[in-house]
């Protein structure tokens, strides 16, 4: 299985949650803290390294807050 990860630009995020329902492994959640705009941003919770870099979360994001990386491309 391909390995990947995502980087969420917290201060771009508006906490809309659209990214949280599409992850096949349910790895994207809303954080408990607030960002500079006062929204609770989404965050990657992936202690077991399950993210494959499938990009579904990033494709749902209306604010281009998510960059997806894949190991070795």
């Amino acid at each position: 299985m391909a390995k990947g990860t995502i980087l969420i630009d917290e201060d771009r995020c508006k906490g809309c949650e659209l990214c949280t329902t599409v992850c096949p492994f349910d790895l994207v959640h809303i954080a408990n803290h607030f960002n500079a705009k006062g929204y609770r941003p989404s965050t990657l919770v992936d202690p077991e390294g399950k993210c494959t870099g499938c990009t579904l979360c990033a494709r749902m994001c209306p604010d281009v807050a998510i960059t997806v990386y894949r190991e070795g491309g």
Binding site: R12, C16, M60, C61, P62, D63, V68, Y69, G72, G73
Partner: protein, 253 residues
């Protein structure tokens, strides 16, 4: 561990943060257009026309040449820009209050003349920027600030189906309706936007992609509920589909 970006901001978008409400699908559609422009390599020759409405500031978000039209007049402005600079790619980005209300004459005649331009039409069944009043596309029975008991079609008339209307014009080459509610429908919308731009580059005539969009703030729903509302309520009145695809466009696929 070497990592390559699998997904990042397209070059045709600026770094600016949008003023759109959380979960508004304008942001998704902006990104799709920018991705298509990057993929076609036309960023330096593309001119966008911003509407009046929530997307009035779109020129701040696209890393392209942009013009701002008076309310509803984007197709008229696009006509002029395209006719004097036929080598450019010209598109309008218009909402339903702009295109289907005050700008109905402009869009119908631009399509009828077969102007070689592309229109991305955002239908969210409400006036967003002005505070959630009834739009021509508001569904029967839908509650808005100006129809607090729901749209009564006997009083306020019936919603306008724009893609079907434009598809009847002889000048239109490519007219489709899509939505952006989940990754699969977003991918389908992107393909349609790409084909619309390709049709323009091949000088095949007018192209319009209508996209069912959400307005969580004025619908009074959460962003996720709003996407469900699009699928459950809007998609039945405004069926997705290809309403006019001339043979020359089909052969572009």
């Amino acid at each position: 561990m070497e990592k390559k970006a699998g997904f990042a901001k397209p070059e045709a978008l600026t770094d600016a943060l949008t003023h759109y409400c959380p979960g508004c699908t304008h942001g998704i559609i902006h990104r799709l257009i920018a991705e298509v422009i990057d993929e076609l390599g036309i960023r330096e020759i593309t001119i966008g026309i911003a509407p009046v409405g929530c997307a009035v500031l779109a020129y701040n978000y696209f890393n392209l040449d942009f013009a701002e039209a008076a309310h509803g007049r984007a197709p008229a402005m696009a006509t002029g820009l395209k006719r004097v600079q036929p080598d450019k790619v010209v598109f309008t980005y218009q909402g339903d209050g702009d295109l289907a209300a005050i700008g109905t004459a402009e869009i119908v005649h631009a399509a009828s003349r077969g102007e070689n331009i592309t229109t991305i039409f955002i239908n969210n069944a409400i006036y967003g920027m002005t505070g959630g009043q009834m739009a021509p596309t508001t569904l029967p029975g839908q509650v808005t600030t100006s129809t607090p008991f729901g749209r009564d079609v006997k009083l306020a008339g019936h919603p306008l189906r724009v893609a079907e209307l434009i598809a009847t014009t002889s000048g239109a080459a490519y007219v489709v309706r899509r939505m952006v509610t989940k990754p699969a429908t977003i991918a389908s919308a992107k393909k349609a936007i790409k084909l619309a731009f390709q049709a323009q580059r091949a000088e095949l005539g007018f192209s319009l992609v209508e996209i069912l969009s959400s307005c969580p703030t004025n619908w009074g729903l959460s962003p996720l509920e709003a996407l469900e509302w699009v699928e459950e309520n809007m998609a039945s009145y405004y069926p997705l589909g290809d309403y006019k695809v001339i043979d020359e466009v089909k052969s572009l696929k």
